[in-house]
Symmetry: C2
Subunit: 454 residues, 2 copies
C-alpha cells in the first residue's frame, strides 16, 4: 500500500498487470502496477489476479534499461568497417570522416532513428557521450549548444530520456593539439567548456552532465574545473564519465607524461567519486581496481564494442568485488541490445577466467537497470517500486529465443527482438514490438545513414 494511493481513483491513473515482474527482491508473479499522472508508480501489488480495466504486460516485465554510454553517430559505422583488412586505423579514419559530416539537422535525424532503435531494445534512458560540439574548423553555431540540443530533440522524438554527458575534449593526445575534424570538439579549455555547458538546462526527460574524454584528451590541470562545474551548490555532483584505460597505449602515454596510471591520475585530482563512471576500464593494475572500487566510482562496460574494436577483457568481477557498481553501454552502437551487453559482460569473464557463473543473473539485471539509471543521474528510475518512474519493459517468453527458459533467467536468452512493450514514465512507446511514435525506424535509419554519408 502506498502513500500515493489516493490517486488511484483519478481518471488519469493507469493500471497494468504483469504476469511476472522483476521487483527489487526478485521476479514475482501476478503484479499490479498503478501509475499516476506524473508517470511515477503509485502502487505495486504482488500476487494478484488481473482485474477489469487493467492492461496486461506479457512475459517478463523488467525495469527500463539504461544505456549508459553511447556515441549516437557511430551507428552509421555499423557494417561499414570490416572490409579492406578492417583494422582499428581504418575504423578510426571512417569514424572521423563521419564526424566531419554531421550538422545539427543531420545529427538530429540520425540520433532520432538510433534512439528509436534503443527504445525498441528496451532502453528508457541513454547517456550520450557528446563531444561533437562545434561546426567545421571549430566555428561556433549560433547556439553554441546546437548539437547538444539536437540530441535532446532526438531523444524527445524517440520517446526516451537522455543524459547529455557533455564532454570536454581539448587535445589529440597528451601535449598534442587537436587538428582537422577534431577542432569541432574544442572548447579551448575547461573554463570554456563549462561556460558553454552552463547554458544548457534540464527538463523532465533531459539532464545535463559531463564528460572528460580521457586523460589523453584533457590535461590533468583542467580536471578540477570540470569537477567544480559538475558540483551543485549543496555539494552533490552530477554524473561525469571518462574513457579509462581502454587501450594499453593510453596507459603508456599517461605513465610517460605523468608518471602514474590514468586511474591514479584521476584519483590524485579528486575526480573519482560515486557520481563518476569509468568507461571500459580494461587495462588496470590491482591498485587501479582498488582506487575505483574504494571511491565507489561506477564502471561502464561496453562488451560488444570492446570485442569489436579489440580492446580486450577488463577485470569486471574484480571491480565489482572492490566496490564499483557495473553498468552497461552500447558505445559505438554496432549492436543495440542490452541483453547482448549483459551477456557479454558475463561471457567475456568466462572466456578470460575459464569459469562459469562469474555474475549472478540479478547482478546483470542491476547493471542493465538500477545501477545504470543511477550512473546517469536518475536515481528515481530503474526499479519497479512505489515512487519510481513507471519505466517498464516486457519481454516475450514465447519467441524461439526465449521459449522454454526459466523466467528468472530470461536475460541469458532474450534479444532486443523479444521486447514486446516499453513504457517510459508510464507512456507506451513500444507495443507489440513496434515503435508507437516512429512508424518505421528501420527505414528512418536507412535514410539517416545514407544522409550522414552523403
Amino acid at each position: 500500500m502506498s502513500a500515493r494511493r489516493q490517486r488511484k481513483q483519478d481518471s488519469s491513473v493507469t493500471t497494468w498487470w504483469c504476469e511476472r515482474a522483476w521487483l527489487p527482491h526478485g521476479l514475482t508473479q501476478g503484479v499490479r502496477i498503478v501509475v499516476g499522472e506524473d508517470g511515477r508508480i503509485d502502487e505495486v501489488t504482488p500476487g494478484v489476479q488481473p482485474g477489469d480495466g487493467e492492461t496486461r504486460l506479457r512475459g517478463v516485465v523488467l525495469p527500463g534499461f539504461a544505456n549508459v554510454h553511447s556515441h549516437a553517430f557511430h551507428r552509421a559505422l555499423r557494417g561499414r568497417t570490416h572490409d579492406s583488412g578492417g583494422t582499428f586505423w581504418m575504423w578510426r579514419e571512417r569514424m572521423y570522416a563521419l564526424a566531419a559530416r554531421m550538422d545539427p539537422e543531420s545529427y538530429c535525424d540520425l540520433a532520432t532513428a538510433v534512439y528509436a532503435e534503443m527504445a525498441l531494445a528496451g532502453v528508457t534512458c541513454v547517456g550520450e557521450f557528446h563531444y561533437l560540439h562545434h561546426g567545421p574548423g571549430g566555428a561556433r553555431y549560433g547556439d553554441p549548444n546546437a548539437m547538444g540540443e539536437a540530441l535532446r530533440e532526438a531523444a524527445r522524438r524517440a520517446g526516451i530520456r537522455l543524459t547529455l554527458l557533455d564532454t570536454c575534449y581539448l587535445s589529440a593526445g597528451i601535449g598534442v593539439p587537436l587538428e582537422g575534424v577534431q577542432r569541432r570538439f574544442d572548447d579551448g579549455d575547461a573554463e570554456g567548456w563549462a561556460n558553454r555547458v552552463s547554458a544548457l538546462a534540464d527538463d523532465a526527460f533531459f539532464r545535463v552532465a559531463a564528460g572528460i574524454h580521457s586523460v589523453r584528451a584533457v590535461p590533468a590541470d583542467q580536471f578540477a574545473d570540470i569537477v567544480d562545474a559538475t558540483t551543485e551548490a549543496d555539494g552533490a555532483r552530477r554524473p561525469l564519465q571518462m574513457h579509462l584505460s581502454e587501450q594499453r597505449s593510453e596507459n603508456a602515454a599517461c605513465l610517460a607524461a605523468y608518471g602514474v596510471t590514468p586511474t591514479r591520475l584521476l584519483a590524485d585530482h579528486g575526480v573519482l567519486h560515486s557520481s563518476v563512471s569509468a568507461v571500459h576500464a580494461t587495462h588496470l593494475t590491482p591498485e587501479d581496481v582498488a582506487l575505483i572500487g574504494g571511491s565507489h566510482t561506477s564502471t561502464c562496460i561496453c562488451p560488444t564494442t570492446e570485442r569489436d574494436v579489440a580492446d580486450g577483457i577488463g577485470p569486471s568481477r574484480d571491480l565489482t568485488d572492490a566496490g564499483s557498481s557495473l553498468t552497461l553501454g552500447t558505445d559505438q552502437n554496432a549492436v543495440v541490445d542490452l541483453f547482448e551487453e549483459a551477456r557479454g559482460l558475463e561471457m567475456h569473464e568466462r572466456l578470460a577466467t575459464g569459469d562459469r557463473g562469474r555474475f549472478a543473473v540479478s547482478e546483470l539485471v542491476d547493471a542493465m537497470t538500477v545501477y545504470g539509471h543511477a550512473a546517469l543521474g536518475w536515481p528515481e528510475a530503474g526499479r519497479v517500486e512505489v515512487g519510481a518512474f513507471a519505466d517498464l519493459v516486457s519481454v516475450r517468453t514465447d519467441s524461439v529465443r526465449t521459449a522454454g527458459v526459466l523466467p528468472e533467467q530470461v536475460v541469458m536468452a532474450a534479444s532486443a527482438a523479444d521486447i514486446d512493450t516499453l513504457l517510459v514514465a508510464g507512456r507506451p512507446v513500444v507495443q507489440d514490438g513496434r515503435h508507437l511514435l516512429i512508424e518505421h525506424p528501420g527505414h528512418m535509419l536507412v535514410e539517416a545513414v545514407d544522409q550522414a554519408w552523403g
Copy 2:
C-alpha cells in the same frame, strides 16, 4: 547459361529474382535463379532486372547455412543453468538429468522444434552429434536406431537436411567405464557401434556419418574400426567429427595415458583427414595446429558455446593459415544464430589478439555456407551456382539491426530475427520470417521443453 537450361520451360521450374545474391565470386546485384524440379539450380544470371512470374527475394540472398555441430536436446538447457553459481558442474549435472529423460518420442518432439528454430535462423543443414542411442540402463530399443530415426523425422518435419553424426561413446574417461545415464551411449565397442550404424540408410535429406565423442570416450585402439566404417568401397570417407581439446583437462588426461596430445593421438591412428571435423580445437600446441592444417582436417568452432561453458579461445586464424577449413556450430543451442557464431569467431580472435579484421567477411560466409556443407558431406550445397541445391536465405536489410549497413557486410550486423525467406532444395520453408510447416515454433518449443523436463 547452363547445361540444365532446357528445363526452364518446365512447369515445375521456379524462378527467383534476388536484389543481391552472394555468388561464389562475391555479392552481385540483380540475380535471376532458376530452380529445377529436382531442387537444384538450373541457371544463375547476374545483372538482370526482375521479370514476370519471378518471385523476388528481398535484401541480401546468401547460400543456406550449415550448422555443423548440434546437440539438439541441449536446447532444453537454455536459460536454465545460470542460477546457484552457474558452474560447469551444475551445467553438466543438468545436462545428464535431461539426457536421462529423453525417449524417441519426446526427442523427436524437441528436435523438431529445435530444427524449426534453426530453419528460422537460415539453417538448411544440421550436423547432429548424436550419442543418446539406447534406452535407460543401455537397453536396446526395438529398432536400435530409434533415437537416430527420431532425429531424421524431426529434420523432415522442420524442412531441413540432416547429417547424423552417429557417435561412438564407450568410456566416461580414459580407462573409466560408463555409468548411470552414460550407459545409454554405450555400443560396447567400435564394432558394435559400426554394426548398429550400418542399419541406417541415407535418403535425399539425410546422410549417415560418424563421430568419435573424444579421446576420453573412445580408446585409441578403436579408432581404426571407426575410420574403416566411414570408408566407402571407392576409398571416399564419410564425415567424421570429434570433440578435440575443448578443455585443458582432456589434454592432461591424454598426455598421462598415451604420452601425446589428443591431436597427435588421432594423427598417429590415421584419423585426421579432409573428411574429418575437429570440434572446438581450443587448447592446441603449434604441432597440433600443423597436424590439423596439414591433413586438411576441418575445424568446427562453436563460439557461443565456447564462451558459455568457459572453454577459452582457440587458435582459429592459425588453423586457417595452416590449411584447415573453418566451419561453425551452435553446439548446445543456447543460441541458435549462425550470424552470432560467425561474428563470435571474429570477435573472439579480436579479444585474444588485440587486432581487428582477423577474418575477411567472405571467410566468415564461407564458414557458414560452403565449408560447412562440405564438412557435413553435402558438397553439392552451400553455393549459389548451377548444379547446387537451391538453398537460399534472404536477409532483410531494413530492420533496425541491418539498416544502413553495406550489403556485403550484412553478416556483421544481422541476427537470426532478420531472416526473411528460406528455401531448402527450392522449397520455401520460411517466408516473411515465419515457418511454413510449423505454425508456432515458439509454442512448440515451450511444450517440448516442458515435456522434456516432465
